[in-house]
């Protein structure tokens, strides 16, 4: 396998203008398949979730899954698409062992949803509108495993094994219009676009949206043209790009590769490229030739789908608040700065903070706990913060204990450890671990006397008005009380004792 020459990304950007296009396949999480009543379940024993329809046996009759149509309409609506009043299915004919019927039932000239758009917000807040050409219904293919050979790749394989459990799983394919004007932000936009699609279908509840399971899969089209030229260059289509990071890397790599090809004076070949996560490069797949002559024709075994306006409006009424709008609303409600909010989102604690505020915490208290104590512990435990097991009510209770002066922040952290260790509620842990703040002034005054005696020069400074020196005395007291004193009260008592105004 020869390694393609590439230009640096910066040089590629100086010379050329990238145009992108995406086909994202979303597997729906219906209970059954698109055209058969066999279960739509991931990870079962091979060829156990199939019946005669999925295996393409002669004389069978497919029947459309109503829930899958409704999910498709919801996706169309969430992408600001028009929903076709009438649409139909078509056969896409090709011979390949992942498709036992020798055709895939898809939609061709009449997709269920078309002419939409999605506003994509990049990390710095720039909003980029991606136009949606169409979203159509189809079925997934079976899973091939190539056996033998050295690499497990298809080249050099001795034979292939086929599991048809995935065959017939409902898919919605979302196709963008050509995306122009992204410039050097093309790789970033690619990642953000796929992330947005994944977030939307997850939020709609129509897909499990787990990329590692192939629920959301992206084919990325890239072409370059010299700056100022309107006509598009020749594109490549990179398949098998199945993580957000890979989408960004693949687009970046293809831009660099195209630029090197164009620089050499050669034409770019219109072809399928395969993404390799290990080397972060693409290699040539088959060239597009008559393998792409799919001879679509209307599926004679299925009748048209008519989406009445009443039905569409009923479905529209069930749509949840779009994720982007929800983020805007929450940020405004909580009064977080852009930076604070972005950190919260990136840390994956937005939902947890929302729940904690609903449980009675203030926005700033909820953020302090989640972004401080909890994110740190989650990182150590290598789990998502929300999976650590901290209930919103626990945070509210902990904060109340601190505000009431019963425990200080350092103790609160220990109490949280206790909660996570399953020792009980915060109040119970304070009791059990004997963590209450020493609020009786008697022992404090003793400790203060001792600390002042130990550091007479500091005491003298404070008497002389250098109040900022008080930290050393407070520190001594806290040490003597093993952290169980209320530092604020200690400070008050020291100033009182020395007769200095705070």
């Amino acid at each position: 396998m020869s390694v393609a020459a590439i230009l640096s990304f910066e040089e590629a950007m100086e010379k050329y203008d990238p145009v992108l296009g995406f086909e994202v396949h979303v597997e729906l999480n219906t209970k059954t398949k698109m055209f058969s009543s066999a279960p739509n379940v991931f990870g079962d024993e091979p060829n156990t979730n199939v019946n005669e329809v999925d295996l393409g046996m002669p004389g069978v009759l497919p029947v459309v899954n109503k829930a899958a149509v409704e999910s498709s309409i919801k996706i169309g609506l969430a992408l600001n698409c028009k929903i076709a009043e009438s649409c139909r299915f078509a056969r896409k004919n090709y011979f390949y062992p992942d498709t036992p019927k020798n055709f895939q039932t898809s939609q061709y000239d009449e997709p269920i949803a078309y002419d939409g758009y999605l506003d994509i917000e990049l990390e710095d807040g720039t909003v980029f509108r991606v136009e949606i050409e169409r979203a159509h219904m189809e079925e997934d293919a079976g899973k091939l495993t190539h056996m033998g050979g050295a690499t497990g790749r298809i080249q050099g394989a001795d034979y292939s094994l086929v599991d048809y459990n995935r065959a017939g799983v409902p898919l919605v394919e979302i196709v963008t219009k050509p995306i122009e004007g992204a410039g050097s932000r093309a790789p970033e936009l690619a990642k953000a676009y796929v992330a947005a699609i994944r977030e939307i279908v997850k939020n709609l509840g129509v897909s499990d949206a787990r990329m590692e399971r192939g629920n959301v899969r992206c084919d990325a089209n890239v072409s370059l043209r010299p700056h100022g030229r309107e006509r598009f260059g020749i594109r490549s289509e990179t398949k098998n790009v199945n993580s957000l990071r890979a989408v960004e890397h693949a687009v970046r790599y293809e831009i660099q590769r195209h630029a090197a090809v164009l620089d050499s004076g050669e034409p770019v070949i219109q072809e399928t490229r395969h993404w390799h996560e290990d080397t972060r490069t693409t290699t040539s797949g088959r060239e597009k030739s008559d393998a792409d002559d799919y001879r679509y024709f209307p599926e004679p075994d299925l009748v048209p789908v008519n989406a009445s306006r009443e039905w569409v409006e009923e479905l529209r009424a069930t749509l949840p608040e779009p994720p982007a709008a929800r983020r805007k609303r929450l940020q405004a409600d909580w009064g977080y700065s852009d930076l604070e909010f972005r950190d919260v989102v990136n840390a994956g604690v937005m939902d947890s903070i929302e729940e904690t505020i609903a449980a009675g915490a203030s926005a700033s208290v909820a953020r302090k706990w989640w972004m401080g104590e909890i994110v740190g512990r989650a990182k150590t435990a290598d789990v998502e913060p929300s999976e650590l097991g901290v209930a919103p009510a626990t945070i509210v209770e902990l904060n109340q204990l601190v505000e009431d002066g019963k425990i200080n922040n350092k103790m609160a952290s220990q109490v949280l450890d206790g909660v996570l260790a399953g020792e009980g509620t915060p109040a119970e842990i304070v009791e059990k671990r004997g963590l209450a703040v020493v609020s009786d002034d008697g022992p404090l005054l003793e400790a203060i006397d001792a600390a002042l005696a130990a550091q007479p020069d500091v005491a003298e400074k404070i008497r002389g008005g250098k109040v900022q020196a008080i930290g050393a005395i407070v520190g001594g007291v806290m040490k003597a009380t093993r952290g169980q004193a209320d530092a604020g009260r200690v400070r008050e008592l020291i100033l009182e004792k020395l007769g200095v105004e705070g």
Binding site: T30, K31, T32, S36, S37, A38, P39, E45, P46, N47, T48, N49, V50, N51, E52, L55, V63, V64, N65, K66, A67, A68, V69, S86, R88, N93, F95, Y96, P97, T145, H146, G148, I154, Q155, A157, D158, Y159, S160, L161, V162, D163, Y164, K239, T272, H274, G285, R286, D290, A291, D293, R295, P298, E299, P300, L302, V303, P304, V305, N306
Partner: protein, 98 residues
């Protein structure tokens, strides 16, 4: 007469994975031309006001509720397979495509 030449037939035969002799290609080119002409005369009978028909019965929205039905056991699914291995269909290596 519609122009269906031998190359068109050879192309279709390849797409359909049908092996055809030179004689068969010649004969089929003539027969397909007649068929295409016949279809064309039907098209001419329909005016611009007649929508294309993909199904003879005026039905729409034939749906199934999303309820799990029957499945095969893997042995049943594989019972007609020329070859299988560990619960999966075994097929020859595919080298020329994806």
């Amino acid at each position: 007469m519609a122009a269906i030449n031998r190359d068109d037939v050879a192309h279709l035969a390849r797409l359909a994975h049908i092996e055809m002799s030179p004689e068969e290609l010649d004969r089929m080119a003539g027969e397909l031309a007649v068929i295409v002409d016949s279809v064309k005369s039907v098209s001419e009978a329909a005016g611009a006001d007649v929508p294309a028909t993909s199904h003879p019965i005026p039905l729409s929205n034939v749906f199934r509720e999303d309820v799990v039905g029957h499945t095969f056991a893997a042995e049943q699914a594989l019972s007609g397979a020329p070859d299988s291995f560990e619960g999966r269909f075994k097929v020859p290596a595919i080298l020329d495509e994806e």
